[in-house]
Amino acid sequence: MDIVPEITRQSITNLVKNDKREDGRELTEYRDISIETNVISKAEGSARVKLGGTQVIVGIKPQLGSPFPDTPDLGVLMTNCEMLPMADPTFEPGPPSDDSIELARVVDRGIRESELVELDKLCVEEGKHVWMLFIDLHIIDNCGNLFDACELAVMAALKSTKLPVATIVDEEVVLSEDETFDLPINNELALCTFVKIGDKMIIDPTLSEERVANARLNVGVTKDGHICSMQKGGKEPLTKDDVLYCVNTAIEKVKDLIEYL
């Protein structure tokens, strides 16, 4: 289903060779971004992000559960991504595809490795009850670069998340009906995704650019300029210079992205 016409491949490759793109952007320019939070009143945290034509919705639902035995005093994060068949004619319903699992895991890695959610504050009773945050990503329109859109959405949703206050009464957890607290967050991050076309790395690829490209690099950077996650994808290799260039560009670009949050 995913066949790129040769003429599209040539035209996109030629444009990039001359530092141009099909939609007139610079090689390091993002499409328009808009972020709305609290779009789902039944979810404790939520956001809807538009990145050009790409649209994702994320909802965060907490549940009380048992901690993992090796981290009895830490809350749990779980990220799941549904590439809805509505988003793209080639997406199929059913169990998550490899692409969808990779997407969820890359987005999750950024949040997890930057340690921006203070998981120790999500412990209600050590070894027994902790908050588990289910982060559910819904891809509703795929016009390329789902990675960055999803990470922005998750970050915005986490910032808007409010949990009910939980106390232990007679060894049972009691949830307050009206008292909530903001999810404790101590940092911010964004993901920058590049693809390689010809010998150039371009940021925020559109769908056709993604299809033409043979290599991809995601770079997750926190507000203080630290790299917290990276992932290389695609069948072709990248050079060391490519990677260094991407990291350098990402650190600059993330400052702009975080402004939107």
Binding site: K42, P85, D136
Partner: protein
Amino acid sequence: MMSEMIREDGRKFDELRPIKIEAGVLERADGSAYLEVGGNKILVAVYGPRESYIRRLLEPNTGVIRCRYNMAPFSVDDRKRPGPDRRSSEISKITADALRPALMLENYPRSMIDIYIEVIEAEGGTRCAGITAASVALVDAGVPMKDIVVGCAAGKVNDEIVLDLSEVEDKEGQADVPIAMMPRTGEITLLQSDGDLTEEEFAKAIDLAMEGCRQVSELQKEALMKKYSTE
């Protein structure tokens, strides 16, 4: 005697919840629609008619319609596990059945139309809202149709027959009668009923639901006019 009754959310017995419909909200899909009714938020995308790539579904002399109704895990109070369950499978099936009569599928042999209904947030009456939105998305996709199918429910709450049940009314109420119809001919394309109703009450509920459908139908047309009128 019941016309003065005020419901829990302040509505009159024959009053719909506020509705917002928008056509053409997604880029990739051939047709799409967004609908809000009360606390429900529903997105629908339509693909096709396109060549059926699923062999076993292919019909040599007519097109087929596939429908997938899906609730987001965050759409309800307690997180719903992702993926189809028995309820959504049933709703998917009856939604396809509700829309099929309006489509001229015989003109599209060997092809299929896919309808994806995503409940982003649920607050009672999602199946009817899904059908209403799906019809708008089908028009947006340019699929030839005989009529724009519309859905609406009536039910029984505190022994009164009321229109368009909210989530609370659905849970605490005594009966729920969702219907879908083709407003031009008045033909009913979906009908379910659960709960306890007398024959009279049922007749009343049907009339009320059909009246609700006609009101929603006007809003569907308005949304399409807004998108497609050339001013």
